[in-house]
């Protein structure tokens, strides 16, 4: 860039001692200088009109071009340029000359006569007339081959540096995105999305091996498609059917590129066809590993290179090979992905464990509250779907053999398929194979996958296969329900393809659930047995309705306590005696369980036996007291015994620790002042007998303490409530009186049994 200064200070002006001959030759040369300098200058010169037509060109440029001047003249500079040069000439150089009259160091490639390119740097000026109209453009062209090579090297180095920076940014973003992903699905999505971006793949998909270390023996591990991006469904399916679905490929090491060629078509025709259909030219498989363990495989599809919504410049069918740096990057991404996925799995496993514990606790609470087996298992099924499974079936062994008690699907839209399977279920038919085996062998059957062959083996007919297929079941577990050494049924759980297959932890949960259900069933069955026994006992022990006794009208009521067995230790008894007498008794054995009921039964029998001798009420107490140890009765009891002389209404009453009888006469109620002696079973003491008269039309009310006892007040208050209630009753006959007293005094929740006897002397 110092040429201008050189010409401004002629070297000949300096004092040099030169030979005369040399000086002459030099002067000659310098005289010819302008023309020679133009024609043979060390750069190309040309002049163009405003429309670009070349009107002058120097010899140097002509020789560079390999064209005679005549051929160059009347062409245009742009016609001598490569395509890129033409575009830059039109879009940049020409505007620059028009606007600022000059352009410097524009890089253009000139096409030589032989077609080869000559890289040049072009400087140009526009010469204008007085009105600023363009007259001519003068341009100099400098050969710039070496410089262009240097620039290209520089460009390549810059691109490599940029690419390296992009890779390092990619890796950074990949790692930070993965760190933010908690769930496996999220991490998988990051892996697929970022690695696809990293190598500008058309699509990406991730298969993870569903390994269950706890139960490796059950079925072979399967690779499950966990995430995908922009891979057409048909290609995904073809891939699922072929290599990536198989373990061997996952276990292969290193990044592998598989070109979609005829050779691939020979091995995997469906895959090759789907890949070609999706315009995929190459498949890249990246192992996903963590600490040397193979977790799965990342698959990238290469094809028409995508660049946002810009047109790809790659030829549509050209195979793409990944740069070594990209392969290395993918290796690193695979390892990073593996570690993140492992971490996500651990995290999820912990969360799932907590969820399982919560689930078991909920189930235990629910089962503890439940009373009936059917209700319990129905509510259990509501818990199991959808929390644990999509389908829950319970086949239970009952009195009449095996029955399908519950078959519930989490998706209401699919419930009809489950209902359709009812026809194939017990008691109509035997169980499907997994449940049948689980029941027969008393061990859990677990299927991590269900393929067509297994489905065919499990099902008992085409209809069942069709229904099972519609349910899209992918994994199944059948748990036998065993408690106290007895097999009580089988629980079958299944998931469809929208959920991941059962893991060993799921199976363990199902087994624990099964145990809870079995224990609940065993308990319920015991309870049911007890209830049935007590019903039978009660039917035997409860006194029959009192016989009609001339001269009196009798009404009786017996109300069992509302909790526990439906029988207690209360009793009443009405027995006509010879000589116009009637014997009446009300008693209460302590407790209200089977033992109390049994004691009451014995007591009543002994009492009846005593009645043969028609003893006075006090004598009944004395004899019972005396024989109590001999009878071997385990509980104490209170009782009220009375005899009524029917013609006269004379009443004899004796009490063994029992509340006093109530007499209702002429609308007024009052307790008879019977002095109670000790309870039956307590150390004996002589009984005191009360004697009085029941007037015609009056009603004698005998009761047990269940009628007057309450948790909130003492017995005296209870007695007063009873008296007041009887006062108000104004009942027409003993039946009505009993009803009114019970309505007033017996609550809906009774801690104790109630026996009530009302006897009205005919007026």
């Amino acid at each position: 860039m110092t040429d201008s200064r050189e010409t401004a200070a002629p070297p000949v002006a300096r004092e040099h001692r030169l030979d005369d001959g040399v000086r002459e030759a030099l002067d000659q040369l310098l005289d010819d200088d302008p023309a020679d300098l133009y024609e043979n200058a060390p750069c190309g010169y040309l002049s163009m009109l405003a429309d670009g037509t070349i009107v002058k060109v120097n010899r140097t440029l002509c020789s560079w071009l390999g064209m005679p001047a005549e051929r160059v003249l009347r062409t245009r500079l742009r016609d001598l340029l490569s395509l890129g040069g033409q575009v830059f000439h039109d879009a940049h150089l020409t505007p620059l000359l028009r606007m600022q009259g000059a352009a410097r160091e524009v890089a253009l490639d000139v096409v030589r006569a032989d077609g080869s390119l000559l890289p040049c740097l072009v400087n140009a000026v526009e010469v204008r007339d007085a009105h600023e109209r363009p007259l001519i453009v003068r341009a100099t062209l400098f050969e710039a081959s070496a410089r262009r090579r240097y620039e290209l090297d520089l460009l390549a180095a810059q691109r490599a540096a940029e690419a390296s920076e992009v890779r390092s940014r990619t890796l950074q973003r990949f790692v930070s995105d993965l760190a933010a992903a908690v769930a496996t699905e999220d991490a998988a999505q990051v892996v697929v999305h970022r690695s696809r971006q990293a190598v500008r793949a058309t699509g990406a998909a991730l298969w993870l091996v569903a390994v269950d270390a706890a139960r490796p023996d059950v079925t072979e591990p399967a690779a499950v498609l966990t995430a995908s991006e922009k891979v057409p469904a048909a290609l995904l399916e073809a891939l699922d059917q072929t290599s990536p679905g198989r373990v061997d490929l996952v276990l292969s090491s290193g990044v592998r590129t598989v070109p979609v060629t005829e050779r691939l078509g020979e091995a995997w025709p469906a895959l090759a066809a789907a890949a070609a259909e999706a315009r995929v030219t190459d498949l890249v498989v990246v192992p996903v590993t963590a600490d040397g363990a193979h977790l799965g495989a990342l698959l990238l599809t290469l094809g028409d290179e995508l660049d946002g919504d810009l047109i790809s410049l790659a030829e549509p069918t050209a195979h793409r090979s990944l740069a070594t740096a990209d392969v290395d990057l993918l290796c690193t991404l695979g390892r990073q992905a593996g570690q993140a996925l492992e971490r996500a799995r651990l995290h999820e496993e912990t969360a799932r464990q907590a969820e399982r514990s919560g689930f078991l606790l909920d189930a235990a609470r629910m089962l503890a509250r439940a009373t009936g087996v059917t209700e319990s298992v129905e509510r259990l099924a509501e818990m199991v779907v959808p929390r644990l499974a999509d389908l829950c079936v319970l086949d239970l062994i009952g009195e009449h053999g095996l029955a399908r008690v519950v078959a519930r699907h989490g998706d209401p839209a699919r419930q009809r398929f489950v209902d359709a399977l009812r026809a194939w279920a017990p008691p109509h038919r035997d169980l499907p194979a997994p449940a049948r085996t689980a029941l027969a062998e008393g061990r859990t059957r677990w299927f991590t996958t269900i393929d067509e062959a297994q489905l065919a083996a499990m099902a008992r007919g085409a209809e069942e296969v069709a229904a099972a297929r519609a349910l899209e079941l992918v994994s199944l577990v059948a748990v036998p329900l065993i408690a106290e050494g007895r097999t009580l049924g089988v629980m079958t759980l299944a998931v469809d393809r929208r959920r991941r297959p059962f893991t060993s932890a799921d199976v363990e949960l199902a087994e624990q659930l099964g145990l809870q259900v079995a224990l609940m069933m065993a308990k319920a069955q015991r309870y049911e047995l007890e209830a049935r026994t007590s019903h039978t006992l009660q039917a035997t022990l409860l006194p029959p309705p009192p016989p009609p006794v001339p001269g009196v009208t009798v009404a009786v009521r017996y109300l069992a306590a509302t909790s526990g067995v439906e029988i207690g230790g209360d009793f009443y008894d009405v027995a006509p005696l010879p000589g116009g007498h009637v014997a009446i008794a009300v008693g209460d054995v302590v407790g209200h369980d089977i033992t109390a009921a049994a004691t009451m039964g014995q007591l009543r029998s002994v009492y009846r036996a005593l009645l043969v001798e028609a003893p006075a009420p006090a004598a009944v107490i004395d004899r019972l007291q005396a024989s109590w140890p001999l009878l071997g009765l385990q509980r104490m009891a209170t009782a009220l015994f009375a005899t009524l002389d029917l013609p006269s209404g004379v009443l004899h009453v004796a009490s063994a620790g029992h509340p006093p009888p109530l007499l209702v006469a002429e609308g007024r109620a009052g307790f008879l002042p019977v002095v109670p002696s000790r309870m039956l079973g307590a150390p004996p003491a002589p009984a005191v007998e009360w004697r009085g008269v029941v007037p015609p039309g009056a009603t004698l009310v005998l009761f047990t303490d269940g009628l007057v006892e309450s948790r909130t007040s003492d017995i005296d208050a209870g007695l007063e409530r009873l008296r007041a209630a009887a006062d108000r009753a104004a009942a027409n006959g003993p039946d009505e009186l009993c009803d009114r007293l019970l309505a007033d005094l017996a609550g809906t929740h009774r801690a104790d049994d109630i026996a009530l006897l009302a006897l009205t002397r005919d007026p």
């Binding site: 429309d51 039109d90 879009a91 606007m99 600022q100 620039e151 520089l154 946002g308 047109i311 410049l313």
Partner: protein, 271 residues
């Protein structure tokens, strides 16, 4: 977009308004290769009876380079959104949008985003797709291979820019005349932005967007335009309903510089 203030939109795109206030607005958008200075021989001629607006796309001329967002400006839609910002900020309606080269398509996209703003379009040397499409026989003028070569050779000039001039300015703070020269020179572009802009200009396919143009449109076709050949201009004309096609005698890709009188006359005659 809506968060951009008036000041920043004007500064961002170095928006310049001249001419007759209240008259029908004409907005001139420069294409690939230069900046708003390209309109210096054409735009002033419309000032007498139009409100004339010129601006620089982000990354070009005096635009605010810091506003360049690789995401937003990674497609022509981002540049179109910038245009909509400018029209909205100046509250212009019934605009005559004059777009050169790729800005013709930016105008098409801007019209789709804000149809109420643009009332007419002048497309100077438009092409809806530069790459030939083997599948439907479309001729854009470039094969894929040619376009690859083109982008490579454009890179050489962008590199020259960044490696020769930028370090000189950066490394010589004591020589402000270098910076001054750079600022005074026309068509200055950030080399990186220019490279990306070249990519999105030449690799976009806006053929499907043409159907959305429902305003009067003038297609100005140059002769011997290596960038936008007649087939490309014809295609635009045929796919914009009711458009007018005018073949200019001017050669090259920049008739507004090489033949400003002819270009102005064609626009005026059509208006």
């Amino acid at each position: 977009m809506s968060t951009v203030t008036e000041v920043s939109v004007r500064a961002r795109n170095d928006v310049r308004v001249s001419g007759t206030p209240g008259a029908r607005p004409m907005v001139f958008a420069h294409g690939y290769g230069c900046d708003q200075a390209m309109w210096r021989y054409v735009a002033p001629g419309f000032e007498a009876d139009h409100q004339v607006v010129t601006f620089d796309h982000v990354g070009f001329g005096n635009s605010d380079l810091s506003a360049h967002d690789p995401q937003r400006h990674g497609s022509l839609r981002g540049y179109a959104a910038d245009v909509v910002d400018v029209l909205t900020e100046l509250d212009l309606t019934d605009v005559v949008f004059v777009g050169h080269s790729v800005s013709a398509m930016i105008g098409v996209l801007a019209h789709a985003m804000a149809p109420e703003r643009i009332g007419a379009m002048v497309m100077v040397g438009p092409s809806a797709r530069y790459v030939d499409d083997d599948e439907d026989g479309y001729v854009g003028g470039f094969t894929r291979a040619q376009l690859r070569e083109l982008l490579e050779s454009l890179d050489a000039n962008h590199l020259a820019w960044s490696t020769l001039i930028a370090p000189e300015v950066m490394g010589n703070p004591d020589r402000p005349e270098l910076a001054a020269e750079l600022t005074a020179s026309f068509c200055r572009t950030d080399p990186d932005v220019a490279r990306r802009f070249a990519r999105i200009s030449f690799l976009s396919d806006n053929r499907a967007d043409l159907a959305g143009v429902d305003v009067p449109t003038l297609v100005l076709q140059c002769s011997e335009d290596v960038i936008a050949p007649v087939t490309a201009g014809r295609y635009v004309h045929e796919h914009v309903a009711g458009s007018t096609f005018v073949q200019l005698a001017a050669t090259g890709h920049c008739p507004h510089l090489s033949a400003p009188e002819e270009t102005s006359a064609a626009i005026r005659a059509w208006l």
